[in-house]
């Protein structure tokens, strides 16, 4: 129960659950500090914002509906390639490119949601993995369109709103990715506090009970999968636009695995988990960029084992437990 004054009606109680907490406001204010304090790290900050967006999209399906996906990079890649190709063949205006990329990822997400919603457990993991690998291979084969392993050439993004060029310092890039992240976050926050959000938590908490209260879990899953794919597409589009490059890496299994690591590190199913996890992951990777990739993954492996064994709800889960214990005394 919340520690604040007991709500007088059930409705007020539910309302109180979605109220903004001061820590949240502090969090978002803190995201502005790179502009002032770390101007040399703006490109990194921008990458963190994109990773956070991607983790947020995975959180919608994994943290709220309990769908484990090992192929979420598919939608990230679709967003990235769509944005890149759009700038190459149509025009370079970023906001319209973002919309088109989102729509494209959501559309493919909607189509594949009919497959995904039919499965649970290992088969579901395999299907998401298989679809992701299938798409990566397809992009690799379709070199005439995607540039294959050389990456997409000729991405040209116009200045944002016709005013701000995506420069080398990353000021525009970070402003853009942070704004997109914030807007998407607001929508995701609304979604999880909505009736639909409650239904998703129901699916996560007890898949078997849902049909027994008259719920069509599959249609909920199709919907959230589509939304999540769209958000992943936004993340992909933003990285393509802010860096003017798109490579096959955007579709890779590593990207799917990384985002999963970020999310569980921060804590799935709590909105901020993906954001915190993404920040820690990306900063750590930046700090350790000198070491060979396989040793980087050694620490990731140790971390995963430790999180599963010791910190099942991620960093934020652990923190809130400590906080609750401390309050309880």
């Amino acid at each position: 129960m919340p520690a604040s004054a007991a709500p007088s009606t059930p409705q007020q109680y539910l309302q109180s659950l979605s109220r903004w907490h001061p820590i949240e406001i502090a969090f978002w204010l803190a995201t502005l500090t790179p502009f002032l304090l770390f101007p040399t790290y703006l490109s990194l900050a921008s990458q963190i914002a994109v990773a956070a967006l991607f983790a947020l999209s995975l959180d919608l399906i994994l943290g709220y509906a309990g769908i484990v996906s090992l192929g979420h990079a598919a939608f990230f890649g679709i967003g990235a390639y769509t944005a890149g190709l759009f700038s190459k063949f149509v025009w370079g205006e970023p906001l319209s490119g973002l919309l088109v990329a989102t729509a494209m990822a959501a559309l493919v997400g909607y189509a594949s949601s009919f497959i995904v919603a039919r499965f649970r457990h290992l088969t579901l993991i395999m299907i998401t993995l298989g679809l992701g690998l299938l798409l990566a291979e397809a992009a690799n084969s379709a070199g005439w369109l995607t540039g294959g392993s050389d990456g997409l050439q000729g991405v040209d993004i116009w200045p944002l709103l016709g005013l701000f060029k995506f420069d080398l310092y990353g000021t525009t890039a970070y402003a853009y990715s942070l704004s997109v992240l914030f807007v998407v976050f607001l929508m995701a926050r609304r979604l999880i506090n909505s009736p639909f959000g409650l239904a998703l938590r129901g699916i996560r908490e007890n898949w078997v009970r849902m049909p027994a209260i008259g719920a069509d879990s599959r249609s909920h899953i199709r919907k959230v999968y589509t939304i999540s794919a769209g958000v992943a597409g936004i993340a992909g589009a933003v990285i393509a636009q802010t860096t003017s490059t798109v490579s096959l890496e955007a579709l890779s299994f590593e990207r799917s695995a990384d985002v999963l690591v970020m999310l569980v590190l921060g804590g799935a199913g709590r909105l901020y988990g993906g954001l915190v996890g993404a920040a820690i992951f990306m900063i750590a990777r930046d700090q350790f960029s000198g070491i060979a990739p396989q040793f980087w993954y050694f620490w990731i492996g140790i971390l995963l084992i430790a999180v599963v064994m010791l910190l099942p709800n991620g960093i934020l889960g652990g923190l809130s437990k400590i906080l609750a214990r401390w309050r309880g005394r």
Partner: protein, 266 residues
């Protein structure tokens, strides 16, 4: 609509009522283990049926088939006049067939208010709304709260389900089913695992449900069965062994030997 409380409906009156739920030739087996043999049942509207039988008789399996969680090998199921044999479980619920589970099947991380509100918004068809805060849907929330209060869960409705005492969780099982506004309610051992002195409370709640509601409950405690049931079905080895009024069942020597007798000695 309902008859005055002091006039207990006679057996004939029940027989003449419309049928709320019926099965025809329902059969099912797990591999070589036959758990349902050619089951024909008719539950008249407003009846209170008890389904009894030894452990492993196939009682839960029968409910699973009726509610669509298991597919029978053969046979049909009717809700009112409609054949529902091939409907998805949630579509049966939406047509008014609800159930509870013998082993708690609750939303551990939600509190009772959230869980019952979820069932209510699903019934009202607003569970797909993702652009409004749930607090906007006051009527749904208040309806859910009303159900909780009626089931004596009003004082713990903000507490996570996993922290509730076991007896409360059993009541929440029923609350979730009621939130779907069922016409027929199937209760699988509503007081399973509850200490004897508390199980009376649960059946008081069950007995206070509306007279229009058709009820089928599984229960092992014969005192409870004879007290609350208007009709008893005895299931043995997946087949209907006997059925009738409590008096008829009590007088049936076959039942006494196979089931009641055994229980008394064991």
């Amino acid at each position: 609509m309902s008859a005055p409380a002091h006039i207990a409906p006679s057996k004939d009156a029940i027989a003449n009522r419309a049928i709320a739920l019926a099965t025809r030739g329902l059969s099912m087996s797990f591999g070589s283990l036959v758990v349902a043999r050619d089951i024909d049942l008719n539950l008249p509207v407003g009846a209170r049926y008890a389904l009894i039988g030894p452990n492993g008789a196939g009682k839960t399996t029968l409910i699973n088939m009726m509610t669509g969680m298991l597919a029978p090998n053969s046979g049909q199921i009717f809700l009112g006049d409609e054949a529902i044999t091939h409907l998805e479980p949630q579509d049966r619920v939406r047509r008014g067939l609800a159930r509870t589970f013998q082993i708690n099947t609750l939303f551990a991380g939600l509190n009772p208010l959230e869980a019952v509100t979820l069932a209510v918004i699903e019934r009202r068809g607003i569970a797909g709304t993702f652009w409004q805060n749930i607090a906007m849907h006051r009527e749904a929330i208040e309806e859910a709260h009303g159900i909780l209060v009626k089931l004596r869960l009003g004082d713990c409705c903000y507490q996570p389900t996993r922290e509730l005492p076991y007896g409360r969780q059993r009541l929440l099982e029923i609350a979730l089913a009621l939130a779907t506004k069922p016409k027929v309610l199937l209760l699988d051992e509503p007081a399973a695992g509850v200490p004897q002195d508390e199980s009376g409370d649960i059946f008081e709640v069950v007995a206070s449900l509306s007279d229009d509601l058709t009820l089928l409950f599984i229960e092992h405690d014969m005192h409870v069965v004879f007290r609350f049931a208007s009709h008893i079905i005895v299931l043995v080895g997946g087949a209907v062994f006997a059925q009738g009024t409590p008096a008829e069942i009590a007088a049936d020597t076959g039942v006494r030997e196979v089931y009641l007798g055994k229980r008394k000695h064991g």
